[in-house]
Protein backbone atom coordinates (compact mmCIF):
# COMPACT_ATOMS: atom_id res chain seq x y z
CA UNK A 1 0.00 0.00 0.00
CA UNK A 2 1.44 3.32 -1.11
CA UNK A 3 1.04 6.41 0.97
CA UNK A 4 1.96 10.01 0.28
CA UNK A 5 2.64 12.10 3.33
CA UNK A 6 2.16 15.83 2.71
CA UNK A 7 3.57 17.82 5.62
CA UNK A 8 5.72 20.95 5.57
CA UNK A 9 7.48 20.23 8.86
CA UNK A 10 10.20 17.88 7.60
CA UNK A 11 11.03 16.23 10.92
CA UNK A 12 7.38 15.39 11.49
CA UNK A 13 6.93 14.05 7.96
CA UNK A 14 9.94 11.82 8.49
CA UNK A 15 8.60 10.53 11.79
CA UNK A 16 5.30 9.58 10.21
CA UNK A 17 7.11 7.99 7.31
CA UNK A 18 9.33 5.98 9.60
CA UNK A 19 6.49 4.65 11.71
CA UNK A 20 4.24 3.74 8.79
CA UNK A 21 7.09 2.11 6.89
CA UNK A 22 7.52 -0.08 9.92
CA UNK A 23 3.92 -1.11 9.44
CA UNK A 24 4.61 -2.25 5.93
CA UNK A 25 3.39 0.75 3.98
CA UNK A 26 5.43 2.24 1.20
CA UNK A 27 5.76 5.89 2.14
CA UNK A 28 6.75 8.97 0.22
CA UNK A 29 7.04 12.49 1.50
CA UNK A 30 6.14 15.88 0.06
CA UNK A 31 6.83 19.14 1.88
CA UNK A 32 4.64 21.60 0.04
CA UNK A 33 1.59 21.95 -2.21
CA UNK A 34 3.49 22.11 -5.48
CA UNK A 35 5.60 19.01 -4.95
CA UNK A 36 2.60 17.13 -3.56
CA UNK A 37 0.58 18.05 -6.61
CA UNK A 38 3.43 16.97 -8.88
CA UNK A 39 3.74 13.66 -7.11
CA UNK A 40 0.01 13.00 -7.36
CA UNK A 41 0.21 13.76 -11.04
CA UNK A 42 3.12 11.44 -11.65
CA UNK A 43 2.44 8.48 -9.40
CA UNK A 44 -0.34 6.40 -7.94
CA UNK A 45 -1.05 6.43 -4.23
CA UNK A 46 -3.60 4.47 -2.24
CA UNK A 47 -3.76 6.84 0.66
CA UNK A 48 -2.65 10.31 1.51
CA UNK A 49 -1.97 12.02 4.81
CA UNK A 50 -2.27 15.74 4.27
CA UNK A 51 -1.49 18.75 6.45
CA UNK A 52 -3.92 21.47 5.48
CA UNK A 53 -1.60 24.29 6.49
CA UNK A 54 0.91 24.18 3.69
CA UNK A 55 3.22 27.12 2.94
CA UNK A 56 2.16 27.52 -0.67
CA UNK A 57 -1.44 26.52 -0.66
CA UNK A 58 -4.40 25.15 1.22
CA UNK A 59 -4.55 21.42 1.84
CA UNK A 60 -8.28 21.55 1.21
CA UNK A 61 -7.61 22.55 -2.37
CA UNK A 62 -5.16 19.71 -2.68
CA UNK A 63 -7.83 17.29 -1.53
CA UNK A 64 -10.25 18.74 -4.02
CA UNK A 65 -7.68 18.18 -6.72
CA UNK A 66 -7.14 14.63 -5.57
CA UNK A 67 -10.81 13.82 -5.59
CA UNK A 68 -11.28 15.23 -9.03
CA UNK A 69 -8.32 13.96 -10.94
CA UNK A 70 -6.86 11.01 -9.13
CA UNK A 71 -7.85 7.75 -7.71
CA UNK A 72 -6.33 8.16 -4.30
CA UNK A 73 -8.99 6.94 -2.00
CA UNK A 74 -8.05 7.22 1.63
CA UNK A 75 -7.37 10.75 2.86
CA UNK A 76 -6.50 11.69 6.39
CA UNK A 77 -6.11 15.33 7.28
CA UNK A 78 -3.67 16.38 9.95
CA UNK A 79 -3.86 19.88 11.27
CA UNK A 80 -2.70 22.12 14.07
CA UNK A 81 -6.06 23.86 14.02
CA UNK A 82 -8.92 22.27 15.84
CA UNK A 83 -11.66 24.27 14.25
CA UNK A 84 -15.06 22.76 13.72
CA UNK A 85 -15.36 24.62 10.44
CA UNK A 86 -12.09 23.19 9.15
CA UNK A 87 -13.16 19.75 10.21
CA UNK A 88 -16.52 20.02 8.47
CA UNK A 89 -14.97 21.51 5.35
CA UNK A 90 -12.39 18.76 5.18
CA UNK A 91 -14.82 15.93 5.66
CA UNK A 92 -17.26 17.47 3.23
CA UNK A 93 -14.63 17.75 0.60
CA UNK A 94 -13.99 14.05 0.86
CA UNK A 95 -11.44 13.43 3.58
CA UNK A 96 -11.93 10.31 5.64
CA UNK A 97 -10.58 11.44 8.95
CA UNK A 98 -9.20 14.48 10.73
CA UNK A 99 -6.43 14.37 13.32
CA UNK A 100 -5.17 17.23 15.43
CA UNK A 101 -1.56 17.82 16.16
CA UNK A 102 0.17 16.74 18.22
CA UNK A 103 -1.03 13.19 17.83
CA UNK A 104 0.33 9.78 18.62
CA UNK A 105 1.80 7.98 15.64
CA UNK A 106 0.09 4.85 16.91
CA UNK A 107 -3.18 6.76 16.75
CA UNK A 108 -2.53 7.86 13.19
CA UNK A 109 -1.70 4.30 12.35
CA UNK A 110 -4.92 2.99 13.88
CA UNK A 111 -6.99 5.58 12.02
CA UNK A 112 -5.22 4.76 8.79
CA UNK A 113 -5.93 1.08 9.24
CA UNK A 114 -9.56 1.88 9.88
CA UNK A 115 -9.78 3.99 6.72
CA UNK A 116 -8.05 1.29 4.70
CA UNK A 117 -10.42 -1.35 6.03
CA UNK A 118 -13.41 0.73 5.15
CA UNK A 119 -12.30 1.61 1.67
CA UNK A 120 -10.28 -1.26 0.39
CA UNK A 121 -11.92 -4.11 2.19
CA UNK A 122 -15.39 -2.71 2.19
CA UNK A 123 -16.97 -6.12 2.00
CA UNK A 124 -15.34 -7.28 5.11
CA UNK A 125 -15.75 -5.81 8.52
CA UNK A 126 -13.45 -8.27 10.10
CA UNK A 127 -9.98 -8.24 11.47
CA UNK A 128 -8.50 -11.62 11.90
CA UNK A 129 -5.32 -12.36 13.71
CA UNK A 130 -4.61 -15.99 14.45
CA UNK A 131 -7.34 -17.18 16.76
CA UNK A 132 -8.75 -13.73 17.36
CA UNK A 133 -11.52 -12.42 15.13
CA UNK A 134 -12.90 -8.92 15.54
CA UNK A 135 -16.21 -7.99 13.91
CA UNK A 136 -16.02 -4.22 13.63
CA UNK A 137 -19.61 -3.70 12.56
CA UNK A 138 -21.11 -5.79 15.32
CA UNK A 139 -18.41 -4.75 17.76
CA UNK A 140 -17.81 -8.30 18.81
CA UNK A 141 -14.68 -10.33 19.48
CA UNK A 142 -14.35 -14.02 18.94
CA UNK A 143 -11.58 -16.30 20.13
CA UNK A 144 -11.60 -19.59 18.27
CA UNK A 145 -15.07 -18.59 17.07
CA UNK A 146 -16.36 -18.30 20.58
CA UNK A 147 -17.79 -14.90 21.46
CA UNK A 148 -16.02 -13.33 24.41
CA UNK A 149 -17.44 -10.73 26.69
CA UNK A 150 -15.47 -7.53 26.53
CA UNK A 151 -16.39 -4.09 27.82
CA UNK A 152 -16.44 -1.29 25.26
CA UNK A 153 -13.15 0.06 26.58
CA UNK A 154 -11.54 -3.37 26.42
CA UNK A 155 -12.76 -3.71 22.85
CA UNK A 156 -11.31 -0.32 21.92
CA UNK A 157 -8.01 -1.28 23.50
CA UNK A 158 -7.82 -4.60 21.67
CA UNK A 159 -8.55 -2.87 18.38
CA UNK A 160 -5.84 -0.32 19.07
CA UNK A 161 -3.32 -3.01 19.96
CA UNK A 162 -4.08 -5.13 16.94
CA UNK A 163 -3.78 -2.10 14.66
CA UNK A 164 -0.34 -1.49 16.10
CA UNK A 165 1.08 -4.99 16.39
CA UNK A 166 4.55 -5.23 17.82
CA UNK A 167 4.61 -1.56 18.55
CA UNK A 168 5.41 -0.22 21.97
CA UNK A 169 2.35 1.75 22.97
CA UNK A 170 2.76 4.26 25.76
CA UNK A 171 0.11 4.44 28.46
CA UNK A 172 -0.56 7.92 27.21
CA UNK A 173 -1.35 6.85 23.67
CA UNK A 174 -3.63 4.09 24.92
CA UNK A 175 -5.34 6.54 27.23
CA UNK A 176 -5.77 9.04 24.38
CA UNK A 177 -7.20 6.46 22.05
CA UNK A 178 -9.62 4.82 24.43
CA UNK A 179 -10.58 7.61 26.81
CA UNK A 180 -9.96 10.68 24.64
CA UNK A 181 -10.47 13.98 26.45
CA UNK A 182 -11.11 12.22 29.70
CA UNK A 183 -7.72 10.50 29.76
CA UNK A 184 -5.94 13.15 31.78
CA UNK A 185 -8.51 13.12 34.55
CA UNK A 186 -6.37 11.11 36.87
CA UNK A 187 -2.93 12.10 37.98
CA UNK A 188 -1.46 8.89 36.73
CA UNK A 189 -2.37 6.52 33.97
CA UNK A 190 -1.81 3.48 36.15
CA UNK A 191 -5.51 2.67 36.02
CA UNK A 192 -4.86 1.52 32.48
CA UNK A 193 -2.86 -1.36 33.85
CA UNK A 194 -5.99 -2.83 35.43
CA UNK A 195 -7.90 -2.66 32.18
CA UNK A 196 -5.13 -4.20 30.15
CA UNK A 197 -4.68 -6.90 32.71
CA UNK A 198 -8.42 -7.70 32.54
CA UNK A 199 -8.31 -7.81 28.75
CA UNK A 200 -5.31 -10.08 28.80
CA UNK A 201 -6.96 -12.40 31.28
CA UNK A 202 -10.17 -12.62 29.25
CA UNK A 203 -8.25 -13.43 26.08
CA UNK A 204 -6.12 -16.10 27.71
CA UNK A 205 -9.03 -17.61 29.64
CA UNK A 206 -10.85 -18.08 26.34
CA UNK A 207 -7.97 -19.82 24.67
CA UNK A 208 -5.95 -17.05 23.08
CA UNK A 209 -2.21 -16.91 23.35
CA UNK A 210 -0.51 -14.39 25.60
CA UNK A 211 0.13 -11.50 23.23
CA UNK A 212 -0.18 -8.55 25.57
CA UNK A 213 3.13 -7.68 27.07
CA UNK A 214 4.23 -5.08 29.55
CA UNK A 215 7.18 -3.01 28.40
CA UNK A 216 8.89 -1.89 31.52
CA UNK A 217 8.78 1.84 32.21
CA UNK A 218 7.18 2.63 28.88
CA UNK A 219 3.89 0.93 28.22
CA UNK A 220 2.57 -2.18 26.52
CA UNK A 221 2.95 -4.16 23.38
CA UNK A 222 0.89 -6.63 21.41
CA UNK A 223 3.56 -9.15 20.72
CA UNK A 224 2.93 -11.44 17.77
CA UNK A 225 5.49 -13.90 19.08
Amino acid sequence: MKILIVEDEVALAESIGQYLSGEGYVCELAFDYTSASDKFNSYQYDCAIIDINLPDGNGIDLIRELKEYHTTSGIIIISARDSLNDRIAGLNIGADDYLIKPFNLSELNARLKSVVRRIFFSGSNEIIFNEIRIDTSAIQVFVNDKLINLTKKEYDMLLFFISNKNRVLTKESIGENVWGDYADTLNSLDFIYTHIWNLRKKLIDNGAKDYLQNVYGVGYKFNTL
Binding site: E9, L12, S15, D82, S83, P102, V168, G219
Partner: protein, 421 residues
Protein backbone atom coordinates in the same frame (compact mmCIF):
# COMPACT_ATOMS: atom_id res chain seq x y z
CA UNK B 1 -16.62 69.24 43.73
CA UNK B 2 -19.01 69.46 40.85
CA UNK B 3 -18.37 72.03 38.17
CA UNK B 4 -21.77 73.60 38.59
CA UNK B 5 -21.30 73.94 42.31
CA UNK B 6 -17.83 75.29 41.90
CA UNK B 7 -18.89 78.00 39.49
CA UNK B 8 -21.98 78.72 41.54
CA UNK B 9 -19.87 79.14 44.64
CA UNK B 10 -17.49 81.54 42.93
CA UNK B 11 -20.33 83.56 41.46
CA UNK B 12 -22.13 83.57 44.78
CA UNK B 13 -19.09 84.80 46.68
CA UNK B 14 -18.34 87.54 44.17
CA UNK B 15 -21.91 88.71 43.98
CA UNK B 16 -22.26 88.76 47.75
CA UNK B 17 -19.13 90.85 47.93
CA UNK B 18 -20.36 93.23 45.25
CA UNK B 19 -23.74 93.26 46.88
CA UNK B 20 -22.29 94.22 50.21
CA UNK B 21 -19.86 96.78 48.91
CA UNK B 22 -22.30 98.15 46.39
CA UNK B 23 -25.00 98.49 48.93
CA UNK B 24 -22.90 100.55 51.25
CA UNK B 25 -21.52 102.72 48.48
CA UNK B 26 -24.92 103.29 46.96
CA UNK B 27 -26.36 104.28 50.32
CA UNK B 28 -23.57 106.68 51.00
CA UNK B 29 -23.79 108.31 47.59
CA UNK B 30 -27.51 108.89 47.78
CA UNK B 31 -27.26 110.14 51.30
CA UNK B 32 -24.53 112.62 50.35
CA UNK B 33 -26.55 113.82 47.38
CA UNK B 34 -29.63 114.44 49.49
CA UNK B 35 -27.71 116.16 52.27
CA UNK B 36 -26.06 118.42 49.75
CA UNK B 37 -29.45 119.35 48.45
CA UNK B 38 -30.80 120.08 51.92
CA UNK B 39 -27.75 122.17 52.68
CA UNK B 40 -28.30 124.21 49.54
CA UNK B 41 -31.81 124.89 50.68
CA UNK B 42 -30.57 125.87 54.16
CA UNK B 43 -28.16 128.33 52.60
CA UNK B 44 -30.90 129.73 50.50
CA UNK B 45 -32.96 130.13 53.64
CA UNK B 46 -30.03 131.75 55.41
CA UNK B 47 -29.75 134.34 52.65
CA UNK B 48 -33.44 135.00 52.88
CA UNK B 49 -33.25 135.47 56.63
CA UNK B 50 -30.25 137.81 56.45
CA UNK B 51 -31.96 139.90 53.81
CA UNK B 52 -35.14 139.99 55.77
CA UNK B 53 -33.42 140.91 59.00
CA UNK B 54 -31.49 143.70 57.36
CA UNK B 55 -34.57 144.92 55.62
CA UNK B 56 -36.77 144.80 58.64
CA UNK B 57 -34.22 146.23 61.08
CA UNK B 58 -35.90 143.98 63.48
CA UNK B 59 -34.81 144.44 66.94
CA UNK B 60 -36.84 143.23 69.70
CA UNK B 61 -36.08 142.91 73.30
CA UNK B 62 -37.47 139.49 73.83
CA UNK B 63 -34.68 137.06 72.81
CA UNK B 64 -34.20 134.35 71.81
CA UNK B 65 -36.86 134.35 69.15
CA UNK B 66 -37.99 131.32 67.36
CA UNK B 67 -39.59 132.23 64.08
CA UNK B 68 -40.75 129.26 62.19
CA UNK B 69 -37.89 126.77 62.01
CA UNK B 70 -35.18 129.16 62.89
CA UNK B 71 -33.88 130.46 66.11
CA UNK B 72 -32.23 133.79 66.69
CA UNK B 73 -30.04 134.36 69.71
CA UNK B 74 -27.87 137.27 70.64
CA UNK B 75 -24.22 136.38 70.48
CA UNK B 76 -20.94 137.75 71.67
CA UNK B 77 -19.48 140.31 69.38
CA UNK B 78 -16.38 138.28 69.04
CA UNK B 79 -18.21 135.20 67.75
CA UNK B 80 -18.21 134.84 64.05
CA UNK B 81 -19.57 131.80 62.27
CA UNK B 82 -20.00 132.04 58.58
CA UNK B 83 -21.74 128.70 57.93
CA UNK B 84 -21.76 125.65 60.14
CA UNK B 85 -23.66 122.51 59.19
CA UNK B 86 -24.62 119.91 61.77
CA UNK B 87 -26.88 116.89 62.10
CA UNK B 88 -29.10 117.01 65.11
CA UNK B 89 -32.14 115.40 66.62
CA UNK B 90 -35.18 117.28 67.82
CA UNK B 91 -38.23 116.14 69.62
CA UNK B 92 -41.32 116.60 67.56
CA UNK B 93 -44.20 117.54 69.88
CA UNK B 94 -46.88 116.55 67.43
CA UNK B 95 -45.48 113.20 66.27
CA UNK B 96 -44.22 112.50 69.79
CA UNK B 97 -40.89 111.16 68.62
CA UNK B 98 -37.38 112.22 67.96
CA UNK B 99 -36.75 113.27 64.42
CA UNK B 100 -33.52 113.87 62.56
CA UNK B 101 -32.81 117.46 61.49
CA UNK B 102 -30.12 119.24 59.51
CA UNK B 103 -28.92 122.42 61.23
CA UNK B 104 -27.21 125.51 59.80
CA UNK B 105 -25.77 128.01 62.25
CA UNK B 106 -24.41 131.40 61.34
CA UNK B 107 -23.84 134.77 62.88
CA UNK B 108 -25.06 138.04 61.46
CA UNK B 109 -24.92 141.63 62.52
CA UNK B 110 -28.20 143.44 62.70
CA UNK B 111 -28.09 147.08 63.70
CA UNK B 112 -24.60 146.68 65.07
CA UNK B 113 -25.69 143.82 67.30
CA UNK B 114 -24.35 140.24 66.77
CA UNK B 115 -26.84 137.46 66.51
CA UNK B 116 -26.50 133.71 66.12
CA UNK B 117 -29.08 132.19 63.85
CA UNK B 118 -29.89 128.47 63.69
CA UNK B 119 -31.91 127.17 60.75
CA UNK B 120 -33.46 123.68 60.95
CA UNK B 121 -34.68 121.38 58.24
CA UNK B 122 -36.37 118.03 58.82
CA UNK B 123 -34.52 115.04 57.43
CA UNK B 124 -37.25 112.59 58.28
CA UNK B 125 -38.65 112.28 54.81
CA UNK B 126 -35.26 112.40 53.21
CA UNK B 127 -33.97 109.59 55.35
CA UNK B 128 -37.06 107.60 54.65
CA UNK B 129 -36.60 108.17 50.98
CA UNK B 130 -32.98 107.06 51.06
CA UNK B 131 -33.81 103.91 52.86
CA UNK B 132 -36.62 103.05 50.50
CA UNK B 133 -34.52 103.73 47.41
CA UNK B 134 -31.60 101.68 48.62
CA UNK B 135 -33.81 98.83 49.72
CA UNK B 136 -35.58 98.70 46.37
CA UNK B 137 -32.31 98.74 44.49
CA UNK B 138 -30.92 95.97 46.64
CA UNK B 139 -33.99 93.83 46.23
CA UNK B 140 -33.84 94.25 42.49
CA UNK B 141 -30.21 93.26 42.51
CA UNK B 142 -30.97 90.24 44.67
CA UNK B 143 -33.76 89.16 42.38
CA UNK B 144 -31.45 89.56 39.44
CA UNK B 145 -28.74 87.48 41.04
CA UNK B 146 -31.11 84.73 42.10
CA UNK B 147 -32.67 84.58 38.66
CA UNK B 148 -29.21 84.28 37.12
CA UNK B 149 -28.30 81.60 39.60
CA UNK B 150 -31.25 79.37 38.92
CA UNK B 151 -31.19 79.92 35.19
CA UNK B 152 -27.55 78.93 35.21
CA UNK B 153 -28.35 75.70 37.00
CA UNK B 154 -31.19 74.92 34.64
CA UNK B 155 -29.28 75.52 31.45
CA UNK B 156 -26.21 73.82 32.79
CA UNK B 157 -27.94 70.47 32.41
CA UNK B 158 -28.86 71.12 28.82
CA UNK B 159 -25.50 72.43 27.73
CA UNK B 160 -23.56 69.67 29.36
CA UNK B 161 -25.91 66.92 28.14
CA UNK B 162 -23.61 66.02 25.29
CA UNK B 163 -20.69 65.76 27.64
CA UNK B 164 -22.46 63.43 30.04
CA UNK B 165 -23.69 61.30 27.17
CA UNK B 166 -20.11 60.77 26.07
CA UNK B 167 -19.00 60.10 29.63
CA UNK B 168 -21.67 57.42 30.02
CA UNK B 169 -20.58 55.77 26.81
CA UNK B 170 -17.02 55.80 28.07
CA UNK B 171 -18.09 54.20 31.33
CA UNK B 172 -19.87 51.37 29.57
CA UNK B 173 -17.11 50.82 27.02
CA UNK B 174 -15.92 47.28 26.81
CA UNK B 175 -13.21 45.94 24.52
CA UNK B 176 -15.45 43.16 23.42
CA UNK B 177 -18.14 45.54 22.21
CA UNK B 178 -18.69 47.02 18.84
CA UNK B 179 -16.04 49.71 18.35
CA UNK B 180 -18.64 51.97 16.78
CA UNK B 181 -19.56 54.37 19.54
CA UNK B 182 -22.20 56.33 17.66
CA UNK B 183 -21.53 59.58 19.44
CA UNK B 184 -23.96 62.23 18.21
CA UNK B 185 -22.78 65.51 16.76
CA UNK B 186 -22.49 68.23 19.37
CA UNK B 187 -22.94 71.90 18.68
CA UNK B 188 -20.53 72.74 21.43
CA UNK B 189 -17.13 72.76 19.78
CA UNK B 190 -15.20 71.48 22.77
CA UNK B 191 -17.52 68.49 23.22
CA UNK B 192 -17.33 67.70 19.55
CA UNK B 193 -13.57 67.57 19.84
CA UNK B 194 -13.91 65.33 22.86
CA UNK B 195 -16.15 62.95 20.92
CA UNK B 196 -13.79 62.77 17.99
CA UNK B 197 -10.79 62.12 20.17
CA UNK B 198 -12.63 59.46 22.10
CA UNK B 199 -13.73 57.70 18.93
CA UNK B 200 -10.19 57.65 17.57
CA UNK B 201 -8.92 56.32 20.86
CA UNK B 202 -11.35 53.40 21.00
CA UNK B 203 -10.69 52.60 17.36
CA UNK B 204 -7.01 52.33 18.09
CA UNK B 205 -7.54 50.26 21.22
CA UNK B 206 -9.75 47.92 19.30
CA UNK B 207 -7.25 47.49 16.54
CA UNK B 208 -4.41 46.81 18.95
CA UNK B 209 -6.52 44.35 20.86
CA UNK B 210 -7.47 42.46 17.72
CA UNK B 211 -3.87 42.31 16.62
CA UNK B 212 -2.90 40.94 19.99
CA UNK B 213 -5.60 38.31 19.86
CA UNK B 214 -4.58 37.26 16.40
CA UNK B 215 -0.96 37.13 17.39
CA UNK B 216 -1.68 35.03 20.46
CA UNK B 217 -3.73 32.60 18.47
CA UNK B 218 -1.13 32.28 15.75
CA UNK B 219 1.70 31.86 18.22
CA UNK B 220 -0.10 29.06 20.03
CA UNK B 221 -0.75 27.30 16.77
CA UNK B 222 2.84 27.62 15.69
CA UNK B 223 3.83 25.90 18.90
CA UNK B 224 1.76 22.86 17.95
CA UNK B 225 4.09 21.81 15.17
CA UNK B 226 7.40 21.59 17.01
CA UNK B 227 5.49 19.88 19.80
CA UNK B 228 4.30 17.33 17.27
CA UNK B 229 7.85 16.75 16.13
CA UNK B 230 9.02 16.19 19.70
CA UNK B 231 6.12 13.90 20.41
CA UNK B 232 6.68 11.79 17.32
CA UNK B 233 10.41 11.45 17.85
CA UNK B 234 9.95 10.31 21.41
CA UNK B 235 7.36 7.78 20.31
CA UNK B 236 9.78 6.42 17.72
CA UNK B 237 12.61 6.31 20.26
CA UNK B 238 10.49 4.19 22.55
CA UNK B 239 9.99 1.60 19.84
CA UNK B 240 13.51 0.30 20.25
CA UNK B 241 13.94 -1.85 23.29
CA UNK B 242 17.70 -1.62 23.74
CA UNK B 243 17.89 1.03 26.38
CA UNK B 244 19.01 0.87 29.93
CA UNK B 245 16.49 1.40 32.67
CA UNK B 246 17.94 4.84 33.22
CA UNK B 247 17.57 5.78 29.56
CA UNK B 248 14.02 4.57 29.42
CA UNK B 249 13.22 6.59 32.48
CA UNK B 250 14.72 9.69 30.93
CA UNK B 251 12.92 9.25 27.64
CA UNK B 252 9.56 8.71 29.30
CA UNK B 253 10.07 11.73 31.54
CA UNK B 254 10.87 13.71 28.42
CA UNK B 255 7.68 12.39 26.91
CA UNK B 256 5.69 13.35 29.97
CA UNK B 257 7.01 16.89 29.86
CA UNK B 258 6.13 17.20 26.18
CA UNK B 259 2.67 15.91 26.90
CA UNK B 260 2.17 18.41 29.67
CA UNK B 261 3.33 21.18 27.39
CA UNK B 262 0.85 19.97 24.81
CA UNK B 263 -2.05 20.04 27.26
CA UNK B 264 -1.19 23.50 28.42
CA UNK B 265 -0.92 24.75 24.88
CA UNK B 266 -4.19 23.08 23.94
CA UNK B 267 -5.97 24.83 26.78
CA UNK B 268 -4.38 28.15 25.89
CA UNK B 269 -5.52 27.80 22.32
CA UNK B 270 -9.01 27.00 23.48
CA UNK B 271 -9.02 30.01 25.78
CA UNK B 272 -7.90 32.38 23.03
CA UNK B 273 -10.42 30.92 20.62
CA UNK B 274 -13.24 31.44 23.09
CA UNK B 275 -11.93 34.96 23.60
CA UNK B 276 -11.95 35.50 19.83
CA UNK B 277 -15.56 34.44 19.59
CA UNK B 278 -14.87 31.39 17.51
CA UNK B 279 -17.75 29.43 18.94
CA UNK B 280 -20.68 31.48 17.78
CA UNK B 281 -23.15 28.67 17.00
CA UNK B 282 -25.71 28.34 19.74
CA UNK B 283 -28.22 25.65 20.47
CA UNK B 284 -30.37 24.47 23.33
CA UNK B 285 -28.44 22.26 25.68
CA UNK B 286 -30.19 20.05 28.20
CA UNK B 287 -27.86 20.10 31.15
CA UNK B 288 -29.26 17.06 32.89
CA UNK B 289 -28.71 14.87 29.86
CA UNK B 290 -25.22 16.15 29.17
CA UNK B 291 -24.11 15.70 32.75
CA UNK B 292 -25.37 12.15 32.83
CA UNK B 293 -23.65 11.40 29.54
CA UNK B 294 -20.30 12.70 30.66
CA UNK B 295 -20.53 11.09 34.06
CA UNK B 296 -20.95 7.80 32.23
CA UNK B 297 -17.72 8.42 30.38
CA UNK B 298 -15.95 9.14 33.61
CA UNK B 299 -17.16 5.91 35.13
CA UNK B 300 -13.95 3.87 35.04
CA UNK B 301 -11.85 6.81 36.09
CA UNK B 302 -14.08 7.42 39.08
CA UNK B 303 -13.98 3.75 39.97
CA UNK B 304 -10.21 3.66 39.61
CA UNK B 305 -9.98 5.94 42.62
CA UNK B 306 -12.97 4.49 44.34
CA UNK B 307 -14.75 7.80 44.55
CA UNK B 308 -18.40 7.66 45.56
CA UNK B 309 -20.74 9.74 43.43
CA UNK B 310 -23.99 11.34 44.52
CA UNK B 311 -25.99 12.87 41.74
CA UNK B 312 -29.08 15.01 42.36
CA UNK B 313 -30.24 16.33 39.02
CA UNK B 314 -33.51 17.89 40.04
CA UNK B 315 -34.26 20.22 37.22
CA UNK B 316 -34.30 20.08 33.49
CA UNK B 317 -32.50 23.32 32.83
CA UNK B 318 -31.95 24.27 29.25
CA UNK B 319 -29.33 26.79 28.33
CA UNK B 320 -28.64 28.38 24.96
CA UNK B 321 -24.95 27.97 24.38
CA UNK B 322 -22.47 26.41 22.04
CA UNK B 323 -22.70 22.63 22.52
CA UNK B 324 -18.94 22.14 22.34
CA UNK B 325 -18.37 24.71 25.03
CA UNK B 326 -21.13 23.27 27.21
CA UNK B 327 -19.41 19.89 27.06
CA UNK B 328 -16.04 21.43 27.83
CA UNK B 329 -17.58 23.19 30.80
CA UNK B 330 -19.12 20.05 32.24
CA UNK B 331 -16.11 17.86 31.52
CA UNK B 332 -13.72 20.26 33.16
CA UNK B 333 -15.88 20.70 36.22
CA UNK B 334 -16.11 16.95 36.77
CA UNK B 335 -12.50 16.34 35.79
CA UNK B 336 -11.34 18.89 38.30
CA UNK B 337 -13.46 17.34 41.03
CA UNK B 338 -11.95 13.93 40.38
CA UNK B 339 -8.39 15.08 39.91
CA UNK B 340 -8.20 16.96 43.13
CA UNK B 341 -9.90 14.42 45.25
CA UNK B 342 -8.80 11.72 47.65
CA UNK B 343 -8.86 8.01 46.94
CA UNK B 344 -12.15 6.79 48.39
CA UNK B 345 -13.32 10.37 48.36
CA UNK B 346 -16.71 11.82 47.55
CA UNK B 347 -18.19 13.64 44.57
CA UNK B 348 -21.58 15.34 44.60
CA UNK B 349 -23.36 16.94 41.68
CA UNK B 350 -26.47 19.00 42.34
CA UNK B 351 -28.49 20.48 39.51
CA UNK B 352 -31.04 23.01 40.77
CA UNK B 353 -33.40 25.35 39.00
CA UNK B 354 -30.73 27.76 37.99
CA UNK B 355 -27.52 26.44 39.48
CA UNK B 356 -25.08 23.61 39.07
CA UNK B 357 -23.11 22.64 42.12
CA UNK B 358 -20.08 20.36 42.15
CA UNK B 359 -18.78 19.37 45.53
CA UNK B 360 -15.77 17.20 46.14
CA UNK B 361 -13.56 16.13 48.97
CA UNK B 362 -9.95 17.03 48.45
CA UNK B 363 -6.74 18.19 50.04
CA UNK B 364 -6.68 21.59 51.67
CA UNK B 365 -4.87 24.30 49.87
CA UNK B 366 -4.33 27.90 50.73
CA UNK B 367 -5.16 29.48 47.41
CA UNK B 368 -7.66 32.28 47.88
CA UNK B 369 -10.97 31.71 46.12
CA UNK B 370 -10.60 34.51 43.64
CA UNK B 371 -7.21 33.31 42.45
CA UNK B 372 -8.31 29.77 41.89
CA UNK B 373 -9.61 30.55 38.43
CA UNK B 374 -6.39 32.17 37.33
CA UNK B 375 -4.30 30.11 35.07
CA UNK B 376 -1.31 28.25 36.32
CA UNK B 377 -1.99 28.54 39.97
CA UNK B 378 -0.28 25.60 41.59
CA UNK B 379 -0.88 23.81 44.81
CA UNK B 380 1.86 22.27 46.85
CA UNK B 381 0.48 18.76 46.88
CA UNK B 382 -0.37 17.95 43.35
CA UNK B 383 2.41 19.97 41.76
CA UNK B 384 0.33 20.50 38.69
CA UNK B 385 -1.84 23.40 37.75
CA UNK B 386 -5.11 23.48 39.57
CA UNK B 387 -6.20 26.39 37.53
CA UNK B 388 -5.98 25.30 33.93
CA UNK B 389 -9.25 23.42 33.66
CA UNK B 390 -10.99 25.89 35.93
CA UNK B 391 -9.73 28.79 33.84
CA UNK B 392 -11.62 27.25 30.92
CA UNK B 393 -14.69 27.01 33.13
CA UNK B 394 -14.37 30.66 34.05
CA UNK B 395 -13.84 31.78 30.46
CA UNK B 396 -16.93 29.97 29.26
CA UNK B 397 -18.99 31.38 32.13
CA UNK B 398 -17.72 34.86 31.30
CA UNK B 399 -18.76 34.42 27.69
CA UNK B 400 -22.33 33.57 28.61
CA UNK B 401 -22.60 35.78 31.66
CA UNK B 402 -22.91 32.89 34.08
CA UNK B 403 -21.72 33.42 37.60
CA UNK B 404 -19.15 30.94 38.88
CA UNK B 405 -17.96 30.75 42.47
CA UNK B 406 -15.69 28.61 44.47
CA UNK B 407 -15.44 28.17 48.17
CA UNK B 408 -14.07 25.56 50.46
CA UNK B 409 -14.31 24.55 54.03
CA UNK B 410 -11.24 22.59 55.00
CA UNK B 411 -11.36 19.50 52.86
CA UNK B 412 -14.65 20.05 51.08
CA UNK B 413 -14.55 22.05 47.86
CA UNK B 414 -17.55 23.51 46.08
CA UNK B 415 -17.84 25.10 42.67
CA UNK B 416 -21.19 26.70 41.88
CA UNK B 417 -22.30 27.89 38.46
CA UNK B 418 -25.40 30.09 38.26
CA UNK B 419 -27.26 30.27 34.98
CA UNK B 420 -29.82 32.86 35.99
CA UNK B 421 -30.98 34.97 33.10
Amino acid sequence: MKLLNKTSLIILTITLFIFFLGGITFYKIIQTMIIKRVDRELISQKNDIVDQLNAMHMVDNAYPVTVGKFLIKPADSGLQIRESFKDTVLYDQREKLYSPYRLLEFTTVVMEKNFKVSVFRSMFDAENLIEKIVLTMMLMLLAFILALFFLNRYFFRKIWDDFFFTVNKAKKYNLRDDPNLDLPYSEVEEFQILNQVFEKLTERIHKDYNNLKEFTENASHEIQTPLSVMHSKIELLLQHGNYSEEQISQITKLGDAVNRLSSINKVLILLTRIENNQFPELSTVHLKERIEYHLGNFKELIEARNISVECTLNSDIEITVNTGLADILIINLIKNAIRHNFDNGKLKINLGNSTLEIINTGPKHDIPADQLFNRFVRTQNTGDSLGLGLSLVKKICELYDFDVRYFNTDELHTVTVSFSH
